[in-house]
Subunit: 111 residues, 2 copies
DNA sequence: TTCATTCATCGTAATATTGCAATGTAATAA
DNA sequence: TTATTACATTGCAATATTACGATGAATGAA
């Protein structure tokens, strides 16, 4: 079928999956790392940096924006992108807790 | 096209993306959370727990196993799955650093 | 106004993912 | 041996993703 059965899972599980899915492409990871380093950038910078077509970069930026990782503001003829601090903190915590739960609960090791 | 151009990105970026991609489905998140809670489980447990067909669960388990999140050992007629502690720690750190880099580098806020 | 720049969106081709029924395989039970 | 149980694998249909050329919209410059 190709369609994910989100109704079978908790909101948290779907939220984690949605975020992870967006991180699940190296171009989007690269965009975020570039933004962390440079604070802001415009689409054109990333086209140079990544070596992907402008339309492709624009599409990745949209996905990052849709889940909230980044925000963009129109600045004259270009669009200035940067990381959304609140969302970044929220995602960081969500992932952090997800991984941490294992270390907290860790019991006898495996089968 | 439909094929990711991994050669454009660093090994770290591809590694993060690969891990994130596997976490990018709520069923796989649910499986990991279930394993964190119960320490071990077999395929049949998850079919009950998730409400997906046996073949589908098996496929998700394979993906989790391929990147190293979990390991499975044959135990008589069934297969016992559990979290791979080393990989879990590795992934936890990789994600942790990815998010932490922002808090360390944080400058003037955005555009 | 006209042109150039910057970016988003549309349309499309290639490929990947999701989900399941059907079937295959291996181990144990009868 | 035959049957059963527990999974994996195969094959397929539906859908999603990736990438890009072409085009559209908005801004600023000439």
């Amino acid at each position: 079928m190709g369609i994910t059965k989100t109704d079978l899972f908790t909101e948290e599980q779907n939220a984690i999956a949605q975020m992870a899915k967006v991180l699940g492409h190296p171009a989007r990871v690269a965009i975020l790392q570039y933004l962390v380093k440079s604070n802001t950038c415009i689409n054109g910078d990333l086209v140079q940096e990544l070596g992907l077509a402008q339309a492709t970069v624009s599409q990745h930026l949209r996905e990052l924006k849709e889940v909230g990782f980044i925000q963009g503001t129109i600045e004259g003829v270009s669009v200035c992108y940067c990381i959304n601090p609140e969302k970044w903190a929220e995602f960081s915590q969500l992932f952090g807790e997800f991984f941490e739960n294992y270390f907290v609960a860790q019991k006898s090791n495996c089968c």
